[in-house]
Symmetry: C2
Amino acid sequence: MALSIALVHYPVRDKRGDIAATSITNFDIHDLARTARTYGVEPLYIISPMNSQKEFARRIIRHWSEGFGSCYNPSRKTALETTLVINDLGEILEDFETRGIKPLPLFVGTSARNFPNTISFKALRERIEKAEENFCIVFGTGWGLHPSLLQDFDLTLEPIKGAGPYNHLSVRSAVAIICDRLMGR
Amino acid sequence: MALSIALVHYPVRDKRGDIAATSITNFDIHDLARTARTYGVEPLYIISPMNSQKEFARRIIRHWSEGFGSCYNPSRKTALETTLVINDLGEILEDFETRGIKPLPLFVGTSARNFPNTISFKALRERIEKAEENFCIVFGTGWGLHPSLLQDFDLTLEPIKGAGPYNHLSVRSAVAIICDRLMGR
C-alpha cells in the first residue's frame, strides 16, 4: 500500500479555468482499476461529493463484482476489488486510520505545470522503494485539479513531457504512464 | 514518422480465443490520438473492414476536426489530424507508398506472451533512435490480436509486466505506456 491513487471529480477546472464538477465515467473506473491492479497500486479512490454520481459508480462496481459481470469477466472483478467511492480527500485519511495503516499518505498532485514543491519521477520512485512513507497520487478530471486543492498538497509530480509542445493526455493515459514510471519493472 | 501505431478491430480474439470483430470506440480514438500526438507518433491507424464502423469513426473525427467540436476543443482537432481510418494492415503499406515514405514500416505485434521474435523495449527504442527504420506497433482490441496476424509480424514487443500476475491493461493504457517507454523523455 505504498502507493494509492485518487481520481477527483470535484473540485476540478472547466475549460475556462473555473471550478467545476464532472461526471464519473465508466471507462475511467475500469481503466484506472486495471492499471492500479497491474502495478500493485491500491486503493483506487473515486472521489465525488454527488450522491447520484457515487451511486452510479458503485452500481458499476457491484455489477462486475457480484452480478452477472463477475462470471462473465472475472478479471474486471479482480481489478475492482480495491476500488472505493468516496466524498473527498479527507476520507482517504479516514480510510487509512480505519485500516490502521501508518503513516498517513502524503498527497501528490498532478499538473501540467511545475510548482515549488514539484518532485521528479525518479525522486518519488526512490522514496516509494524505501517503503517508509505512503503516497497518494491525485488526478483531476475535466481540465485538471482546481488550484485550491493543488496548493494544499505535500508534493506535486513532475509533468509528463512528450515529444513536442502538445500535452493533452487523457487522464486514463496519464494514470497508466505515471504508474509505469513509478512502479513498472 | 519513425513510429506509427495501429489499432485493429478485426481479426482479434474474443474471450474464448475465437476470431472476432469488435466495435470502434469513441474513447479509443480520442485517447490513442492524444497519446500519439503527445509522443510524436504518427499516423494513428484505426483498422476495421466494416463500413458502418469506419463511417462511425470518420464521423467522430470530422466532428472534432471540422464541426462545432473544432472550435469547442481545438486540442482534440490537433490530436486527430494524424488519425486515419483504414480497412487492413495492407493499407498502411499503401499509405507509406503514396506518401513516398521509405523504408516501409516493420510491423511490431503486441501480446501478453513471448514469441521467438520478441524484442525488448530497450532494443526497440535504440533502433527507433537510430532513425534508419520505420516501425508500426499493432494493438488488438477485444482479447488481443488474432494469432493469424501475429505470426506474420516482423517483431513482437516484450509484454508489459506489472507488480504481480495480474495483466489486463486496457488497450488505451497499454498504448500510453508503450509510447512512453519507446518515445518518452
